[in-house]
Amino acid sequence: MIAYVARRLLYMIPVLFMISIFIFFLLRLVPGDPAAVILGDKATDQAIEALRKELSLDKPLTTQYVTFIKNAMSGDLGDSIRLNQPVTTIMLQRIVPTLFLTVYATLLAMLIAVPLATIGALNQGKWPDFIVRAFTMIAIAMPSFWIGVMLLQFFAVKLRLLPVGGFGHGFLGHTESLLLPALALALSISSVLIRNLRTALLDTLDADFIRTARAKGLSARNVYIGHALRTSLLSTITILGVNVAYLVGGAAVTETIFAIPGVGQLIVQAIFDRDYPIIQGATLVFGLLVLCINLITDLSYAFLDPRVKYS
């Protein structure tokens, strides 16, 4: 197991290396000179030229890349052109709300999905099942940013029960401020999870080992939680893994609407401003996160299903 994890971690290095080459050169193919963009319309040509020099943008691309990767390997991702701070400092600050939101949304999504899928599977073909299925259809059809705006309009603007966005202060403040955005994200992921888990449960409940478990006199609750749910969650976890990876990267829209100072907003603004160091740094961090989430997903199989062994 430990050898397996170590090997997986080692594999990450070449992947991240490829990502760095890809993003570095791709970025520079996009038209737009960071110096001109950052200084704005009224800046003089001399000021732009001076900034280009200061940022080493006048050096050959390969030289720039070598400098970048050398520094990156010692943990220095450069300084943001626009924010005048080290990229690592900025990332450490901005990753907190994004991770908080991602974990929060994931938990909520599971909290919504597991009970609803259970209700649907245990009442197959009856009215509770229809309601659950109708719910998933509606939730899947509504984009999360739209759900977000609606939730804000109702709970924050009309009823004034919750803050209108922001990140809040302290753990409780974060929990309160991020409830609506996490819920908006959770609702849209949960529909996929419910559909998947419900189908998996139906298959599992028909399986031979469930009949055996029942026959040996286990309570319906034990059969369901210990055997049926645990087995069915395998495929759902795969889908969840993919969705969480997507959440980390795709939270930009939600972060924007809810004014959450996360990495999503940071990277969008950085792209507009051609803030190369931020885009490069954030892409690498995102890459690393997605790789980690994949690893965690794979490891959770072993936990859920004793037949899965890693060596």
């Binding site: 996009v30 038209p31 737009g32 000179d33 960071p34 001109a36 963009v37 950052i38 200084l39 704005g40 319309d41 009224k42 800046a43 003089t44 040509d45 000021a47 001076a50 900034l51 626009r82 924010l83 005048n84 701070q85 900025i90 705006v149 804000l152 309009q153 924050a156 603007v157 004034r160 803050p163 209108v164 966005g165 922001g166 990140f167 924007t256 609407i257 809810f258 004014a259 100072p261 907003q265 940071l266 603004q269 792209i271 507009f272 401003d273 051609r274």
Partner: protein, 516 residues
């Protein structure tokens, strides 16, 4: 309208005797100021990019920095005059070449006194630093001397009519020399000035908090304890925060929502706005846009009133010259009234007589520009124009328009940073003003000469006459499609009192208070 107080003679000069613009105060200022409280306001375009005012060219940075730093003089409440700032009084020699400023007794936020040396140091930095974007604005300065602790003498190499208006600009803010020199660039992460508010917190791209300067030189001000600026670039997020009661003042309100907001008795919609023009710049060095007759025909064919009615929902006026509604604007300018017959007649004599095709660059994600673009495209089809809209985000747009000058038309806007017409004239019309006449590459030697003459003309009437001529010649040459001067666009809670937006776009928040 002359200036106030001891700066009167000089103020008249800076104001240039230009007709004063009435900015309707939309709110009721009656009642006594309430001391204390916190005001929260949006920063709509972007976060402050830097608090180093010699570098930044962005409005959000300029307007916020103006609350932290003092300049020698500042823009008065009427938005057209210059009033005393750090300089309590000032005077200039008869030839207009030597200015003497007497500083008031006051301190920076760190407690150190404001001295003549600080002034000389700060202005010198703005004039000579490699990174200074604003050097050209007062390049006319020859020498600066600290005569004594509280007196600064500035000698100009040439007469410069907009000098005092220029000095009120944020790039010429006064810093504590000792602190700036010892901290270097780090100084601007937690800036120190002598202005009405002092810097407290800066959570990048989230919020900026300023606190009341307890020792501010203006007696009893500011009224508010605390100011918070929230960075809210997304329109939906901004409006939701305002409607949810999290913001006291919201800026850049979509025009389509202004009327609904105005109907709410707890909300005041502000009518004034920064002096701004929206235009379509044409690349006059590229065929067929090098043909003046065609450019005029296009101007006649665009119905600006329709744009105001349908896109701005009535919040604006038809643009009649390159100068927004501010000092120096030619109020008699005819502009290009919508006249389709005239447009057809002109286009038949022009390079576009067999039809013309234009690639029209607009900023992506900007609903206003997109709607304007579609209206203009439809209207120009009437005279044989085939206009294709190309939405580009800022980086790609800057590359194409500014760096490569590889474009036909582009939608743009500009607003003034000083109350004098000189800055915008240099920026938008003068060939060598740095932006190649906002990338139109417009070049009329006679106009260029008049621009230089106007900047050196001290007689207000003669000066206005020159600006009138510049506007008429530029209008006739039509290097741009003159569209609209938008107004309004901000709203606030009725609790906020005595808040107004100056033509320079900034706000005198030290005079604003908030009722409970």
């Amino acid at each position: 309208m002359l200036g106030i107080g001891s700066g009167m003679a000089a103020a008249a000069l800076a104001n240039g005797g230009f007709p004063m613009i009435q900015t309707a105060a939309a709110q009721d200022d009656s009642g006594d100021p309430v001391i204390g409280g916190k005001l929260i306001m949006s920063l709509a375009d972007r976060d402050v990019d830097t608090f180093d005012p010699i570098i930044s060219t962005f409005n959000m940075s300029i307007w916020t920095s103006l609350l932290i730093y003092d300049q020698l003089v500042r823009v008065g409440p009427d938005g057209t005059s210059i009033e005393p700032g750090l300089a309590e009084t000032w005077s200039h020699s008869d030839d207009g070449l030597t200015y003497t400023f007497s500083l008031r007794d006051t301190t920076f936020h760190d407690g150190s006194p404001v001295t003549a040396d600080d002034v000389v140091y700060s202005l010198d930095r703005a004039l000579t630093s490699e990174t200074s974007t604003w050097r050209s604005l007062i390049s006319v300065v020859d020498t600066m001397t600290a005569v004594d602790d509280k007196t600064v003498e500035i000698k100009l190499s040439d007469v410069w009519a907009p000098f005092e208006a220029d000095l009120a600009f944020v790039a010429f803010s006064i810093f504590p020399q000792a602190a700036l020199e010892s901290q270097g660039d780090d100084f601007f992460q937690h800036p120190i000035g002598s202005g009405p508010f002092q810097f407290d917190t800066w959570e990048k791209e989230t919020r900026i908090v300023l606190k009341r300067n307890e020792t501010y030189w203006e007696e009893g001000k500011p009224y508010l304890d605390e100011l918070e600026f929230r960075v809210l670039t997304d329109t939906n997020a901004r409006m939701l925060q305002f409607q949810g009661g999290e913001l006291d003042i919201v800026t850049s309100v979509p025009y389509s929502q202004l009327e609904a907001l105005g109907a709410n008795p707890e909300i005041v919609v502000l009518e004034e706005a920064s002096a701004r023009i929206d235009y379509i710049g044409m690349n006059t060095k590229r065929a067929p846009w090098d043909d003046k007759t065609l450019r005029q025909a296009i101007n006649y064919a665009v119905d600006k009133q329709t744009i105001i009615d349908r896109v701005l929902f009535g919040n604006g006026e038809v643009a009649t010259s390159y100068l927004p509604l501010m000092a120096g604007h030619d109020y008699d300018s005819p502009g290009y009234p919508f006249d389709l017959d005239k447009a057809k007649e002109l286009v038949a004599q022009s390079a576009g007589k067999d039809g013309f095709k234009a690639e029209f660059i607009i900023p992506s994600g900007d609903t206003f520009s997109d709607q304007v673009g579609q209206l203009v495209a439809a209207q120009l089809a009437e005279i044989g124009g085939e206009v294709t809209l190309v939405a580009l985000e800022s980086g790609a747009r800057t590359q194409k328009v500014r760096t490569d000058l590889d474009y036909d038309w582009q939608k743009g806007y500009y607003s003034t940073d000083i109350i004098d017409p000189d800055q915008l004239t240099q920026f938008a019309v003068y060939t060598d003003g740095g932006s190649k006449a906002i990338y139109t590459q417009y070049e009329n030697p006679e106009v260029n000469e008049k621009i230089q003459a106007a900047a050196r003309e001290l007689d207000p009437d003669a000066r206005q006459e020159l600006y009138d001529q510049i506007q008429q010649m530029h209008l006739d040459d039509a290097p741009m499609i003159f569209l609209v001067y938008p107004t309004g666009g901000a709203a606030m809670s009725t609790k906020v009192k005595n808040f107004r937006i100056l033509p320079t776009g900034n706000y005198r928040l030290w005079e604003t208070w908030k009722e409970e």
